[in-house]
Each structure stands twice: as structure tokens, then as C-alpha cells.
Subunit: 353 residues, 2 copies
């Protein structure tokens, strides 16, 4: 049996947050009624509701999240873990994701894993532990234990930025392999035969790996030997892109076209090319991937693959909301990623033909 509260409105006004009970007392109703007013207003009479809401406002009441989560076993919170927030690759998609969630009254928590599988795992567990009702993840590539963990914890999740009907997990994205293959095909059709790739580390990054494979496919289709492809793996950053281009242009077999795994690396390559006095695309063609803002800022503008960031974000949100509501949604969704031709891609230099 509950003991009488020690002293509900005792002398010293502590600054502690008001609780449901405080509201109930000043409104002259039970805590249950207050709770209902807030969570299921339609079931309580207009008169008492008004009284309660007034009390809520006058006390500045705000529900205690921990208590709420503990009692209701859900948090109205979704989590997202992206590899990075430092550049704009995921920013636009995330923004769209959040906008959609907000319309559904859901709060978004974002973490960035810095492309570290260990960190990502930690953050997934962290978000689940703090009650995320659902999760957005990037790419399929992670340890089976994590997937088991998510299944065990019954936390719905969606994988974005990739699409693969053969994978059992629900995903929304595009075919990175095909998109890159299509881009490179256009490069080769311009006569380029000496091609190089600057990419993120492919280990643990299926987007990068698939883009690489798409490039190989295009080469093979044009009768080029994949072994002739010069690949540089590095972390996404302007500086690293620049560094990589420098290395490439100092090698024996100088490429006439440099394919970059994303726009950030491509931008770095462009900066470096200019620094080395190379005219793009007259001396050298450069392509990117993602079509983020810098693609139109660099000089010359960057030929790249347009990724449907906003569609992915919004779509992912809708899938997760459906899952959270117990609806077992359709299937994975494939979006299109198309090549955007801009200035940085041109025919192979005459001197090379």
C-alpha cells in the first residue's frame, strides 16, 4: 500500500520538475486522468480536459522521458546512424528523413560512425538501449551479430543507400553497381582507355565496393583488362582526393580519365589538377558520384551520378513508420540514380588517340 506522500507541497520550493501528480493535484483530478488528457484526449470530457491543460501550462509540466519510456515501452524516437556528418553526402537525405518523421511526431536521433564498424555497432546498441523504436542504417555490410541483435530486440530497421533484391533485409536505395557501370560506359564511349579510380576503402563499405565492381564491368564490356585499372583507396576528404590525383599523375601510366568514388574526392582531384596546371577536361576528365552541392561549384562543373537523396530519406521514414505500426510493408524499394553530364568529362585528349 502506498504511504502518504512525505509532504507534497512542502515549504522549500524545489526547482524540480513538476510531475503528473503535481498536475493532478492542482487540477483536482487523478494522475490517470492527466495522463489520458495528454495521450488520448478524446476520451476525457471537455471540462476536465481544459482544467488539466491549464494546470499543465501553469506548472510548466513536461513528461519525464525515462518514466514514459519505462511505462509505455516506446519512445516515439527513431535513430539513424550514418558513416559521416562532416561532408554533405548524407546530409540532404537525413534532412528529408527527419522532415518526414517530424510530420509523424517522431524525434530523430543521429549518430555518426566515422566509417568504423566497431563504432557503428556501439552506436546501434546505444540507440537501441535508449529506446529507439526503429533504426535507419546505411549499407548492408555489417556483422551478423548486429543483425541478430536487432532481430532479438525486435527493433525494426531499414537499410538505405543501397538496393539489392537478394538481401533479406528491407532496403531503399539504388543499384550502386549499375549506376557506376552506366557512368563509366559513357566515359569509355568518349574514347578513354586509360582509366583510374579513387575510392573510399571498400572493405566494410558495400557502396564503394559495388561502384568498383560496376567500373570493372564497364571495362570488361569494352574489352579492357581490369588489371590495367589503377586504384587508390583513401578516406573521403578533399585533401585525400587531391593527394590521390597527384600520385596518379606521377605514375607511369597516366590516366586520361579519373573516376572518383564520390564528389568529395572528385572535388579534391579537381583542385589538385588545377594546381598542377592540368586543364579539365581537355587534359584530363574527372567524374564524381553523389551529386552533392559541390558538384556544381567546382570549376569546371562535375559530371557525376545523381543520387536521389531526398527520395531515399523520405521513403525510408515512411517504411519505418509502417514497420513501427506493425504493418509489414511491401518490399525493398529501388530508386534510380542517373548520370549527370557536366563539364568535367570530355573526349580523350587528341595527343592520346
Amino acid at each position: 500500500m502506498k504511504k502518504a506522500p512525505i509532504s507534497s507541497s512542502n515549504g522549500h520550493e524545489t526547482a524540480a520538475s513538476p510531475t503528473l501528480e503535481d498536475v493532478a493535484r492542482t487540477a483536482g483530478v487523478s494522475t490517470a486522468t492527466v495522463s489520458r488528457c495528454l495521450n488520448n484526449p478524446s476520451v476525457v470530457s471537455d471540462k476536465t480536459r481544459k482544467r488539466v491543460l491549464d494546470a499543465v501550462k501553469s506548472l510548466g509540466y513536461a513528461p519525464n522521458f525515462g518514466a514514459q519510456a519505462l511505462a509505455a515501452k516506446r519512445t516515439r524516437t527513431f535513430g539513424a546512424i550514418v558513416p559521416t556528418m562532416e561532408n554533405a553526402i548524407f546530409a540532404r537525405g537525413l534532412q528529408a528523413f527527419q522532415e518526414e518523421l517530424q510530420r509523424c511526431g517522431i524525434t530523430l536521433l543521429v549518430s555518426s560512425s566515422s566509417y568504423s564498424p566497431e563504432l557503428e555497432e556501439e552506436q546501434i546498441r546505444g540507440l537501441v538501449a535508449r529506446g529507439a523504436d526503429a533504426l535507419l542504417l546505411i549499407g548492408f555490410d555489417r556483422s551478423p551479430q548486429i543483425y541478430e541483435f536487432l532481430e532479438k530486440q525486435q527493433v525494426p530497421y531499414v537499410i538505405a543507400w543501397v538496393y539489392d533484391p537478394d538481401q533479406p533485409m528491407l532496403s531503399i536505395g539504388f543499384d550502386n553497381r549499375r549506376a557506376m557501370q552506366s557512368l563509366v560506359t559513357q566515359v569509355l564511349e568518349l574514347g578513354h582507355r586509360s582509366v583510374a579510380l579513387i575510392t573510399a576503402e571498400r572493405n566494410g563499405n558495400d557502396r564503394a565496393q559495388q561502384r568498383y565492381e560496376g567500373l570493372l564491368n564497364a571495362m570488361k564490356a569494352h574489352g579492357l583488362d581490369p588489371k590495367t585499372l589503377h586504384v587508390i583507396e583513401t578516406t573521403y576528404s578533399i585533401t585525400n582526393g587531391a593527394e590521390a590525383l597527384k600520385t596518379l599523375m606521377q605514375s607511369d601510366q597516366k590516366p586520361t580519365a579519373v573516376i572518383c568514388g564520390n564528389d568529395v574526392l572528385a572535388a579534391g582531384a579537381m583542385v589538385q589538377a588545377r594546381k598542377m596546371g592540368l586543364k579539365v577536361p581537355d587534359d584530363l576528365s574527372i567524374t564524381g558520384f553523389d551529386d552533392i552541392e559541390i558538384a556544381e561549384i567546382v570549376t569546371p562543373t562535375l559530371t557525376t551520378v545523381h543520387v536521389p537523396h531526398r527520395k531515399m530519406g523520405k521513403g525510408a521514414a515512411q517504411m519505418l513508420v509502417a514497420l513501427r505500426n506493425g504493418q509489414n510493408p511491401d518490399q525493398s524499394i529501388e530508386l534510380e540514380a542517373v548520370t549527370i553530364l557536366r563539364e568535367s568529362l570530355g573526349p580523350v585528349p587528341k595527343s592520346e588517340t
Copy 2:
């Protein structure tokens, strides 16, 4: 009195997460001991600790966040609300902020307010409600109610990206006014007399407002009439920057130098200038503010004000951790923001002198 548990290890193995009690049972100890093992290991004997930890691992136990927050009254979680995540303005600072927090075992939750005061207020309340132990905010400019709310809830907070010793709140940042004044002074000393400003909406954005004031100060100091300043207010984006430059160059009094409130607007202006066949800086000088990555990507490279993003992020984290630990830290911290001279700023065109 607690009734005997209905049936602790009943027939159907539910997939529900194991609780402290489960761990206690399989380890043959009390829940109190398990809790101690996890939170204050030194106080429990080696033998039992080992037994408990084994049980934890074998069950895959993870503490319930809600319960923990409810009982311990703290969440080891800090919140940050930034105006935007779509461009890189706050990304680097936020990254540093997070890195420092992580070293202290604290999780960071990030929200973006899209420069909307109402949204920001909602998100502040949201983060507090979900138990954020401390908050990072950008700029002083917000309604008194929010500050009252934070005081009432006893949630420590630090304001970043601005510095003003006259403000009562703890802050870490730089003097936006002075930084802009210094930049513009250098512009004027190159002979420019016809200057224009492309800025974010200043209402509710003290950084933008102060940068504007700094610009005015510099003009006055050089005997220029502030009324001659052509100001265009727009939202931060490449496109808007381009749009604004177009408007400016079609006006009667064409500027010879365009000061931009940040690098994103400046990049847009640069793109537009090129499109209009204007040579930067020969025909027109353009400056930015922030020194984010694109400043070095645009052609020509952008003269701008370097903002100490990482220092601010790390410093803010340290201040908040101190506050959370009950230490009443020093004072607000002022950092330097210095002008970085690059290619986009040149002397006033000869035709104008």
C-alpha cells in the same frame, strides 16, 4: 509488499530483453549486486563480479535506458541544436563536440531547427524531456521563455558561435562583429567604395546581425555612408547566393565588392559571376565567412573569415562536462576568427577608380 513473481522463467521464452533480475538470478546474486558490478565494480568482490559479468555476457544483457534515467536522474546524454545540418557550417564543430563527449562516455543527440525559432524551442523541450543532461545551443537570440525553462529545469547549457561578455549566459565563440569589421576593412583598404552584402535573414540570427553591424562599422570608419550599402537577405544556399548576385549586378549601383554572410552564399555568388562572364577578382571581388571546405574548392579560392570550428566544439564540450559535474566553470571563452586572404579578393577594378 512485493508479491512473488508470477513466474520468472515461464515456459514461453519471450524475446524480450533480459533485465537486471534475470542476470541476478542466473548469477545467483541480488539485483543490487549486479547493479553495483556495472556501475561501481570496485566495491564488489572479484569472484562475484566475474560470475555476474559472465551472466551479463551470456544473456546479452543491456540496461534499459528509461529505467536507468528514471532511477539515476541522469542520462549521460547531451543534446545539441544547430540551425542546419544541410550544409557544412556546423558540421566540423559538431564533430569535434561529439568526439570530446565520446571521450567522456557521453552520447550526443543532434537536432536541426532549420533556422526556425519555433522549431528550435520545440526541440529544446524535446531534448530536455528525453533527459538531456546538458545542451549546446547556437547564438544568443531566442525567447526569454526558453531561457527560463532551462533555468527552471536546471539543465546546463552553453551558447556557441558567438561571444559577448555582456550576456549573462555562458558562451564560447568569437566576436562576429569584429571579425566582419576586420575583413571589410581590408576590402575597403583595397580601394573598394561600392560594396554590397548578401546575408542570411538577420531577424533571430545574431551572428548574421552582428556581421552586418561589423560591416557598417568598417564603412563608417572609412567615411562611407551606410545608406549606400545594398543588402540582400536570403536563406543560406548556393542557389540563393547566385540569385542574389544576379540581382545585385542588375541594379543601378553595381558593387565592386560583394560581402557574403557565409561561404555558402559566397560560393553561389561565385558560380553566378562566372555564369555572367565576370572575372573574380578582376571585375568583382567576393568574400565569404566561415572557411568551410568549399572556400578552397571554388575558383578562384575564396577570401573568408576562418571560424575556429573545432576549438569551439571541443571547448563547448569541456564546459558542459564541467557544468554537469557541478563545477561552476570560469567564464565565457573568446576565440579568434581571422581573415584568410585568398584569390577572390582583389583591388578595385581600374575602370572604377
